[in-house]
Each structure stands twice: as structure tokens, then as C-alpha cells.
């Protein structure tokens, strides 16, 4: 029996999708239990499984015996507008989830890079926050709990559905940004907000150094934008760098911050974008990071932002960059060789700045790894956790690279 025959016998014909260009059989389990059954079997049979969502973010090119896609796990079992919580399966597209939430007056305050149909599980597993991290925190801050399936087919629940929870160890945070190394996320409990009653975006063009200063002035003035993002000309498709400020919340709060924005703009003039322009601007920014072959993020202290941008420019070129200077987070996308990525990671590690490789073709990903250049003592812990949650090594994840 081939692997495909065994999978068909296990989950039924409906679970088997057409293989991709690399001819690796693609399987879409229809329930969390089916994921557990499949991974349990893979563990016993020694199959190597790569995890996919909608296939729009991480390249579907890892060498494997089987591709497990979560795309049929697309139900939203609960939306509770009065509690501002929701429970969704990992394979639902963010665009669909956003629409369902909006219909109930609720909002998931994340805007990750990638295409609109990117799955929730992909966003959580890679912890890819977008510009809204400035006002609403990283992806992990939006999670109340997750259910995941380990590499040997065990189903584990962590956290819960309520706003605060310290019952047991926080395995949710292990999964957020674990890149699937510690299991496949199948269900996510989310913290929501109400749809902002006012939502406006302002942009200011100028020299990078000047805009960085304006960003610092905005932070120092105590303004509370939902997003404060510095975008390179190539990514923004403008002549010069752009500082984009998104204000979202109650009309009174937004009006107060709009008034404060002028005073903090350093003589420049912020231009408001019409609603459709703002939508297009942020969408273009998100989608830009899914176009080029390599995307990574780095995180330093806010005052190091300029220095880090200089370093990226020097080592890799300007390319397409987006930075949240007040949060110290920078995302870069372009093309970069294994050697350059490894060299950059080592340089940054010396500055105590981690580089997380978010997406890249398998040759780079496999060699460089999502993580690496760990701080003291972290390597053995990561390896131990990896073996705990995937004892047979069934999950093909480029955790640290080779």
C-alpha cells in the first residue's frame, strides 16, 4: 500500500487533495480528531509531514512524504460579542474570520503580513504581527488558548476561553511563534475588541531619519496610535520613506490624537487617507511581504531602530522594509543568500537582536532555520521541547537550520 492508499483508508477519499507541483500527496483532515489520527499514524509509520495552511505564506516546498493542510478546519464554533471572545479552527482564512466577526460588531486587532486569505493557524504558528502590534501587542496577546496536535498524534489543550487564566503552564505561548515545531494548531480561542468607531490613517513622507524622529516625538507626546509604521519607498511605492499613523478607537480618543499629531510632526504635514486609500495602503503593505522569496523580522530596543535599519541597508540593501520603531520591530523582505542570512544573524546576535526567518525557499529555510544564534542555554531547552512534542521527528520544520 502506498502512503496515499493508507491515508485514504484512514480518513476517506474526501480528505485527499490534488498534489502540488512537487507531487507530495496533500491531505486535508476535516476535524482535529482526524489530524490526531493522521499524525499518530505518521509517527508510527515514520512518515515525514509538512504542515500547510492556505499555502499563501510559507513556501510549500519542504521535503516530505505528506503535506497536511489545515484548510478544511475552517469552522468558527463560537463568537461571543458580549464577552469579546471567539473560538475558530486553525484553517479558517483571516478574511473570512474578519467578516464573520465584523457581522457581530467584533474585531480581531491583528494585521499580519501576507495575503488576505492566510489562515489563522499560520498567523499564530509564525507569530507574524503587523503594524497593529504597536497599539495592540504581539500575536500572543490576542490568544486565550489553543488546542494542538503533537507530532505523535496527541491532542493537547492549553489556556481557555476567558480573559485571564493561570491554570497550568502556558503552552499557548509556546505554540505562538513555534512555527509548528511543537505541534499542529487546530483550534484557537481569541480575544476580541469591538470594531473601532473611528479609524483613520495619516501618512507623512520624508527622509528616514526625519521620520524616525517624528515617530519618537509621537511616542514621547503620549499619543496612542493603533499603528505607527515606517515604510521603505519600494514597499510603499512612493518616492520617499513613509511614516503611517493609524488612529483607531472611540471618536473622542481619535480626535484627541489627531490634534496631537500635528504638534508632533516636526514641521511636516501628515496627510489623511480616505478610507479606501487607507485600506489599500495597509493591504499593499501586508501583501508585499508575501511576494519576494525571503522575509524575516528582527527585534531590538526602540532606540536601536535607526542603527538596525542602517545595518540592514548595508548588508542586504534597502529592499522592502517596514518598521515599528517604537516597538523596536523591523520586517525585511527581498532575496538573500544562505551565507548573507547567516552572517546577518550572527552580527545581530552580537547586538542581542534576534532574527526570525519567517519565510524563505526550503534551501535557505532548511540551512538558516527559523531560529538560531540562541542566547545562553536556550538551545538544549528548544531541542528538549522539540523532542517532547515530536518524538519521532514527523513534523518537517526548519527549527534551527542545519
Amino acid at each position: 500500500m502506498t502512503i496515499l492508499d493508507k491515508v485514504t483508508a484512514l480518513l476517506g477519499e474526501g480528505a485527499v487533495l490534488e498534489a502540488g507541483t512537487d507531487r507530495v500527496p496533500r491531505v486535508a483532515p476535516g476535524s482535529p480528531d482526524a489530524v490526531a489520527l493522521l499524525l499518530g499514524t505518521a509517527h508510527q509509520e515514520g512518515w515525514r509531514v509538512r504542515i500547510e495552511g492556505a499555502g499563501t505564506w510559507l513556501q510549500s516546498d519542504a521535503p516530505a512524504d505528506l503535506a497536511l493542510t489545515t484548510r478544511r478546519l475552517d469552522r468558527v464554533p463560537a463568537i461571543e460579542p458580549s464577552d469579546l471572545t471567539a473560538t475558530a479552527e486553525a484553517g479558517i482564512g483571516l478574511d473570512q474570520l474578519r467578516q464573520q466577526l465584523a457581522d457581530r460588531g467584533a474585531w480581531l486587532a491583528i494585521d499580519p503580513p501576507g495575503l488576505a486569505g492566510r489562515t489563522l493557524g499560520s498567523v499564530v504558528a509564525t507569530a507574524t504581527a503587523g503594524p497593529l502590534r504597536h497599539g495592540f501587542g504581539p500575536i500572543k496577546d490576542h490568544l486565550l488558548g489553543v488546542t494542538f496536535v503533537t507530532g505523535d498524534g496527541r491532542m493537547v489543550q492549553s489556556g481557555g476561553r476567558v480573559m485571564k487564566n493561570v491554570a497550568g503552564y502556558d503552552l499557548t505561548r509556546l505554540q505562538a511563534g513555534g512555527f509548528g515545531a511543537f505541534g499542529v494548531i487546530v483550534l484557537v480561542h481569541l480575544r476580541l475588541r469591538t470594531l473601532p468607531r473611528a479609524d483613520i490613517t495619516y501618512v507623512l513622507e520624508g527622509a528616514r531619519e526625519d521620520l524616525t524622529q517624528v515617530g519618537e516625538d509621537i511616542a514621547a507626546a503620549g499619543l496612542t496610535p493603533a499603528a505607527l509604521e515606517l515604510v521603505s519607498p519600494a514597499l510603499a511605492r512612493r518616492e520617499r520613506w513613509v511614516l503611517a499613523v493609524r488612529l483607531a478607537g472611540s471618536p473622542a480618543l481619535v480626535a484627541a490624537d489627531e490634534a496631537g499629531l500635528g504638534a508632533a510632526s516636526g514641521g511636516g504635514r501628515f496627510t489623511p487617507l480616505r478610507a479606501e486609500e487607507a485600506h489599500a495602503f495597509w493591504m499593499r503593505l501586508a501583501e508585499g511581504f508575501a511576494v519576494r522569496p525571503v522575509t524575516f523580522r528582527i527585534g531590538g530596543v526602540p532606540t536601536a531602530s535607526d542603527e538596525l535599519l542602517d545595518l540592514l541597508q548595508h548588508q542586504l540593501g534597502d529592499e522592502w522594509i517596514s518598521a515599528s520603531p517604537a516597538a523596536g520591530a523591523i520586517r525585511w523582505t527581498g532575496d538573500a543568500s544562505i551565507d548573507r542570512l547567516q552572517r546577518l544573524r550572527r552580527t545581530l546576535a552580537g547586538l542581542e537582536v534576534p532574527l526570525t526567518l519567517e519565510r524563505a525557499p526550503w534551501p535557505q529555510r532548511g540551512a538558516v532555520g527559523h531560529f538560531g544564534a540562541y542566547r545562553e542555554g536556550v538551545g538544549p531547552l528548544v531541542a528538549g521541547l522539540r523532542r517532547t512534542f515530536d518524538p519521532g521527528g514527523a513534523l518537517v520544520v526548519a527549527t534551527e537550520g542545519t
Partner: protein, 477 residues
């Protein structure tokens, strides 16, 4: 216990910082919860990071279990050490190592008192936001271990949202650096800071903690609303949350608690005849915007049935209102000899129903239950006043506590929102986690501490776990 251990520990920390006499050790036999008592074999109080490392390495070499402890204000029996264990008290590591105003962060030792960090940040226009009621005594290291909350965590988030990096001493005496100064969630790997925070001391000892500071709000409005029924107050909470307003804090107290406070030195001017009060605080940068939100909240409170809504007219009045809330647990000491402070979380929309049920449970067992809690988070603190020397009453408290927990779980909630599991809630863990999930937790603990020597017997009930393969080989002694 090893015969030479006391001598060797004294050689590291000095005789004066080792407690051997039973009378001295009994001082450390409880935390803030009166229902659990354990007397440690030895209590050691190192005075520096280097002494902590030396102590832990000595204990590792001998295979002796130990329990890290901060100020001992916890409410789950989490920092108690059994016979055969050494209690490692970290209160002497109380230095604030750095406050970096420009990057809004601070680096502290684990024994720094929460309120002292706040006071040190204030001249820089910054605050350390998590503010547990015990903040005048509790330590940042303890806050990290428990993932402590507090009233203002509704807007600003709990401890886990404010920890950027940690230096951690593992049970085998090795040091690890988790996270990064900038707080990038990956931190050079997966989010091990997030995994460590709230691990109740089971994963090691945090010896250096980098925290996020946030700007002090420039405008604050504090409202006091009173209600003729608890249910109505609970419905008002739901109305505020559903309106999309995120107050800095949204706290509730019931009549029993109000009266205890008003009878104490912490009297805040709460209306004694109210069935419940809500304390709502709005804050931000702009006075006009904060006032507009406060007006909107006041309208919602009145529409929901508040008898009156009052705004604190001065900073002094605001502080008085908050002192009553934060010292409520102390004030309840007036009601009886002992107090069990419970902790559970429910979906906010379930508050009215759950509060009704708790009231019924109290009546059924003839107990005095006072509620003072973080209503905006749905984080309940039903407090049971009783006399622990009365075995019948003590039994009733245990049974009623279990019924309250079952009620919260049935409503879709959980057994603890900020106090932790410790030993007090071990028995409830199988009610919310299956054997596989508990086994996974134990397996993760063994990655950090293969011999389960740090704070043994806490958080995960071993008997309820499904077997997982231990992933990290035990350290070679």
C-alpha cells in the same frame, strides 16, 4: 537531609541568613492562604545573584529539592516547602539594576517589591502596570512566577505582557537567557519567556528580570457607582464591555466587603446600604477624551440601574477609593479569624448568573462569602470568612469552594486567573484539563527540571497525567 548541608549553605550566605531553628522556620510555613501549612527543613536567604547560583548548584550536587519564594504573599500555597526541601527566599535580591527611560524598560532583581519599582519609574513619567493588591509587599520575581494580575491589568495586561527577558537559573545550576532586551517574541527562538512566566517556580529561578514600563497616564477619572443588587452591577459590567470601552480598571465589591472596609481604618466612603459597588477608572493622555469616555461610562452605569454615580473630585479622594479596594482583603480580617481568598474566572456575560449561584452556595452552607474582584476581566474573588479551628466549618468551606469552582467551570470559566494553582488547586486541575494535556505540562516541566526538584508537588497533579516521554536526559550528578 544531608548533615553537612546547613554548614555548607551557611558558608555561602553567612550564618545570619540561614534559618535552622524550628521557631524561625515556622515563620515561613504559610503564604497568604491560611489553609495550607508546611514547615521547611531549612530556609536560606542569599544576598546576591552569585550566592543564589552557589546555593542552587550545591543543592543540585546533593539532589535536594528546593522552593523559590518571594515575599510569601501568594494565595495558592505555591511557595511552601515540605520537609526534605530547602526554602530559597529571594527578598534580599532587591536591587533595581537599570531604568532605561528611552526604551521604557527596567532590569531588576527578583526580590524587588512591585510598588518600589513603580515608585522608581514614576520620576521618569513611567509605570510598571501590573498592580496586584499585595503590591506594597509582593516581589517582581513572585509576580513572574505567578503571572500576577491586578485591577489595572484590564487595560494594561497581566505580568506576562510586561516581561521582555529573563535570566533563569535552572535546577541543575545552569544559567539560561530567555527573550531579548527588545522583547521580540521569538527572542532568538520560541517564546520561552512566555512559557516561563506563570510556571509557579517549577522551571527554575528568575535571577534577573527585564520588564516593560508604560507611560503614566496624564488624565485619570475614577467613578464610583452603587447598585441595589449584585446582578444589576454584573449587568452594568457587561454593558460597558459590550460598548467597546476599555477602562483602566473595573472592580466590583459586594455589601459584605463594603461594610468590612467601611468598618476598618481603610474606610473609603463607600455606601454601606449598596448591594454592590463598581469602581471604574478611565485614563489616557488627553483630558477631554478621558472625560468623554467617563461620561459615556456614567451613562451606561445609570442606564444599567446604578442608584448613583460619583466621580472622585480630587487625587486624594481617588487614592482613598483605591485604598479601600486594595486593602479589602486586610479589612476582611475583621469578619473572622481566617479567610480563604478564592480566585476563578468566568466569561463576563456569565457574571450575574455566577454571582447569584455563589450567593446560593454561601446560604446553603451558612458561610459568609464576600466578593471583591476584577469584574472587567470576569476574574472573581469570592472570599470565605471562617474559623479554621472549627473542623465542621473548615469542611464546609472546602466543599463550598469546590462547588464555587464547579460553577465557574460550568459557566465556561477556569479555576484561577491570577493566584495560581500551587497546592490549593491541584485537585481542580483534572476538571479543566484532560490527562493528555496534564501529561504535556509535566513533560514540559521535565525539559526545564528533569528531576522535578524545583517546587515539587505543585501545579500539575501527577496522578492525573497520562505518561509522556521525558525529553531531556537527567543531569549527571
Amino acid at each position: 537531609m544531608f548533615p553537612t548541608l546547613a554548614r555548607d549553605l551557611a558558608a555561602i550566605v553567612g550564618e545570619t541568613h540561614l534559618r535552622q531553628a524550628r521557631a524561625e522556620r515556622v515563620t515561613y510555613s504559610m503564604d497568604g492562604l491560611p489553609t495550607h501549612r508546611r514547615v521547611p527543613d531549612l530556609v536560606v536567604l542569599p544576598g546576591s545573584r552569585e550566592e543564589v547560583i552557589a546555593v542552587v548548584r550545591l543543592l543540585a550536587a546533593l539532589g535536594v529539592p528546593f522552593v523559590p519564594r518571594g515575599a510569601g504573599t501568594g494565595l495558592s500555597g505555591g511557595a511552601l516547602a515540605d520537609e526534605g526541601s530547602v526554602l530559597l527566599v529571594l527578598t534580599r535580591l532587591n536591587r533595581i539594576l537599570e531604568i532605561d527611560k528611552n526604551n521604557r524598560r527596567a532590569v531588576v532583581e527578583p526580590g524587588v517589591v512591585n510598588a518600589k519599582l513603580g515608585a522608581a519609574a514614576k520620576p521618569h513619567g513611567l509605570q510598571y502596570a501590573p498592580d496586584p493588591s499585595s503590591q506594597s509587599a509582593c516581589t517582581i520575581g513572585g509576580n513572574v512566577a505567578e503571572n500576577a494580575g491586578g485591577p489595572h491589568c484590564l487595560k494594561y495586561g497581566v505580568t506576562a505582557n510586561h516581561i521582555l527577558a529573563l535570566e533563569v537559573l535552572l535546577a541543575d545550576g545552569s544559567l539560561v537567557e530567555l527573550g531579548s532586551p527588545g522583547g521580540e517574541p521569538g527572542g532568538g527562538g520560541p517564546d520561552l519567556v512566555g512559557v516561563f512566566v506563570g510556571s509557579e517556580g517549577n522551571f527554575g529561578v528568575a535571577t534577573k528580570i527585564t520588564v516593560r514600563l508604560t507611560p503614566l497616564p496624564r488624565a485619570i477619572r475614577t467613578l464610583l457607582a452603587d447598585f441595589s443588587s449584585i446582578r444589576t452591577a454584573g449587568e452594568a459590567v457587561s454593558a460597558i464591555i459590550a460598548a467597546g470601552i476599555v477602562p483602566a480598571a473595573l472592580e466590583m465589591m459586594d455589601q459584605s466587603c463594603i461594610c468590612a472596609v467601611e468598618d476598618s481604618v481603610y474606610a473609603a466612603g463607600y455606601p454601606r446600604d449598596a448591594a454592590a459597588i463598581l469602581l471604574v477608572e478611565l485614563d489616557g493622555r488627553d483630558t477631554g477624551a478621558v472625560e468623554a469616555e467617563a461620561d459615556a461610562v456614567a451613562d451606561l452605569l445609570r442606564k444599567a440601574g446604578a442608584r448613583s454615580v460619583r466621580t472622585a473630585a480630587s487625587e486624594a479622594e481617588r487614592e482613598r477609593l483605591w485604598q479601600g479596594r486594595k486593602k479589602a482583603f486586610g479589612a476582611m480580617g475583621r469578619l473572622s479569624r481566617d479567610l480563604v481568598v478564592q480566585d476563578a474566572v468566568v466569561p463576563r456575560s456569565a457574571l450575574p448568573h455566577v454571582l447569584d449561584t455563589i450567593s446560593t452556595i454561601a446560604k446553603n452552607y451558612g458561610l459568609v462569602v464576600s466578593n471583591v474582584f476584577h469584574a472587567g476581566d470576569g476574574n472573581l474573588h469570592p472570599n470565605i470568612s471562617f474559623d479554621a479551628t472549627n473542623p465542621t466549618l473548615k469542611h464546609s468551606v472546602e466543599v463550598a469552594s469546590a462547588e464555587i469552582m464547579a460553577t465557574c467551570i460550568a459557566a465556561g470559566g477556569t479555576i484561577t486567573g491570577e493566584h495560581g494553582v500551587g497546592i490549593d488547586k491541584l485537585r481542580y486541575m483534572p476538571l479543566i484539563f484532560d490527562a493528555e494535556s496534564l501529561g504535556a505540562m509535566l513533560a514540559v516541566r521535565r525539559v526545564f527540571d528533569p528531576d522535578e526538584r524545583v517546587n515539587p508537588g505543585k501545579v500539575v497533579p501527577l496522578h492525573a497525567c497520562r505518561e509522556w516521554v521525558s525529553a531531556r536526559p537527567r543531569a549527571v550528578a
